[in-house]
């Protein structure tokens, strides 16, 4: 089940070039979406299915701003309308490839799966892209064989950092004891807290004295389907601050991560992410180290999520126990389920 009226990330903009062979297909919410650029560099998002006999248009040929299906040669413009059926004078009715609203923002490509009339660009999630001059960000992507609800639950509860990421992001089990309050937004949740007095994370342990302690100000914004925007600011630990108040210790490293998780189908997601430091707090080598660590850490998530999926399939419907760390996942999945229910009600009324 997917929310239709939402923007779905189709990857980093650099993945779709203007070369003759740059025909990129993304699996998004059970659909196959072809992305290509016209000669002017404008992006086109089109259902990757010829309306004649369902051959993939991505096996076709770019001709100027159009794409020719290489099964029977039908030519489709960037609006999806068929321009030519070789051997036939008139274009048959319905010979239109479905196109989707597509927008590039923050170096991400976003496609709208629902009613084009409701494709409001303001609904695209806030992010900071790698071309932002104030930030030094590195990007990457990963496929994970899990459902996107499980990805939501993973990202909406960072207590797992202590356990899944003990060799990378975590320096102690302190994340496992954070109990944040999650604010509800119309299309997601927002969460702020401070993880206080923690040792350096495993990946940066060697850079600091053993007894150095830090406060980490965390600000998470999640939106449907599964976009996770993280500000993660490392401060010198201050004495006696509360977990729900930001640290006022000296700012050592201001970091930012934009993560978009796009469901491919019921059992896999594409994960597009960045991490890096503000230009003001960047120092040589740190962003490259963060970048490598980020991939290592997300492979740690991939391992646990794919293991979880295997067990979910093996024990369908087995009872699950709730714990205090489920508040974030509970809220985010509730928001998702509200939107799904609204769309189901609309579809039923229509």
């Amino acid at each position: 089940m997917y929310v239709r009226n939402a923007w779905y990330c189709a990857g980093w903009d650099e993945a779709v070039g203007i070369g003759a062979h740059d025909l990129v297909v993304r699996q998004i919410a059970g659909r196959s979406i072809l992305l290509y650029r016209t000669g002017e560099g404008r992006l086109v998002a089109m259902e990757d299915r010829c309306p004649h006999r369902s051959a993939p248009l991505s096996l076709g040929r770019k001709e100027g701003d159009a794409i020719r299906c290489m099964y029977h040669g039908m030519l489709f413009g960037p609006d999806g309308a068929c321009r030519q059926v070789p051997g036939m004078d008139r274009i048959p009715e319905g010979a239109v490839a479905a196109t989707l609203p597509v927008i590039e923002k923050d170096n991400w490509i976003w496609v709208w799966l629902g009613d084009p009339a409701r494709a409001d660009p303001d609904l695209i999630c806030f992010a900071i892209g790698p071309s932002d001059p104030d930030w030094v960000l590195r990007t990457s992507h990963l496929r994970v064989d899990t459902g996107y609800r499980e990805e939501i639950a993973n990202l909406a509860d960072l207590s797992h950092v202590s356990w899944v990421h003990g060799l990378t992001f975590a320096g102690s089990d302190d994340w496992g004891y954070i109990k944040p309050r999650h604010r509800l937004n119309p299309r997601g949740i927002e969460t702020r807290y401070c993880v206080r007095g923690v040792p350096a994370p495993a990946f940066a342990r060697h850079l600091f004295a053993d007894d150095a302690r830090f406060d980490i100000n965390v600000h998470v914004r999640m939106t449907v389907p599964c976009n996770f925007i993280l500000s993660f600011a490392v401060h010198e630990a201050e004495e006696g601050g509360a977990p729900n108040e930001p640290s006022r210790g000296k700012l050592l490293l201001d970091t930012f991560s934009s993560q978009a998780v796009t469901p491919r189908d019921a059992g896999s997601v594409d994960y597009y992410f960045s991490w890096g430091a503000s230009r003001a707090t960047d120092f040589p080598g740190i962003v490259d180290l963060m970048h490598r660590t980020n991939m290592d850490a997300f492979l740690e998530d991939k391992r646990i999520l794919e293991g979880q999926r295997a067990r979910l399939l093996q024990y369908p419907g087995a009872p699950q126990v709730d714990i205090v760390h489920d508040a974030g996942p509970g809220r985010m999945l509730w928001v998702l389920d509200q939107l799904l229910a609204e769309e189901a009600a609309e579809a039923g009324a229509a």
């Binding site: 489920d326 508040a327 928001v335």
Partner: protein, 319 residues
Amino acid sequence: MSGDWISVRLAGKRLVAEDIAALLLEPADGAALPPFAAGAHVDVELPGGLVRQYSLCNAPGDPGRYELGVLLDRQGRGGSRAVHERLAAGQAIRISRPRNLFPLVPAAHSVLMAGGIGITPILAMAEQLAADRASFELHYFVRSPERAAFVDRLAAPRFADRCRLHVGDRIPPSFDAPALFDAPRAGHHLYVCGPNAFMDAVLDGARAGGWPDDRLHSERFAAAPLPAGGDRPFEIEVEGHGAIVAVAAGQSAAEALAAAGIRIPLSCEQGICGTCLTTVVGGVPDHRDSYLSDAERAANDCFTPCCSRAATPRLVIQL
């Protein structure tokens, strides 16, 4: 790193009462175990991959070893069965560093109340208080003499007359110590650990006797069960909405709000996950959840409308 496991050797395992095994843990490599304070527990990694929390019951000053007491729960989820049936002396296991959610606080006098296996953290507290020559009394409630663990230690001279065993008392207890629940004198603190019904009875009795919450300390082994039926109706005012929502007896606050068109995020609907946590700006909630800590309850600024109710005729909430 505090998240690391510590390798230990099960140096001894003996039955100290009916269905209660005492485990003696020593460091596997001869290194010292981290010190602990009375009330602390450790995570224990058990055969089959289960991880369970058990309180340390030896004297906190006791160097180089940890002692745990584990009650066999045949209806449980398998942790205590793994301890009783699959752990053998000499075996290597892994534990976490001690963590303490149930610490002693300085007090003029400490009242320690243990029900059943709840004796384990209480015993460590008694050891600490005895070592400190502090004033305390210990009440230990068991269903039968066979189920009383560590009685040899409790009979030791260091505890003199300060420990009392209550055998066969019903739970909730009907023990003849009503003075316990009289208004406490300055500086008195009460600690309770045991089955939920026992703890509820003790805490309710103490509160009724005038004990303020900040002098009551408790640790639960399992989530509190939901009380059934017989709830009083109350009202909820949603700040800024104008409307007053009536919550009937037998109806949850979340249900009443939903019926009034105000949807609250829900997930477990048992007061465990905290998904429905809602801000309270007026009135006093009657907390029925297992999500909020005692300190969070004391702040009186939120409640879980899936199961909690109101102790005042009206609650004012903020969405």
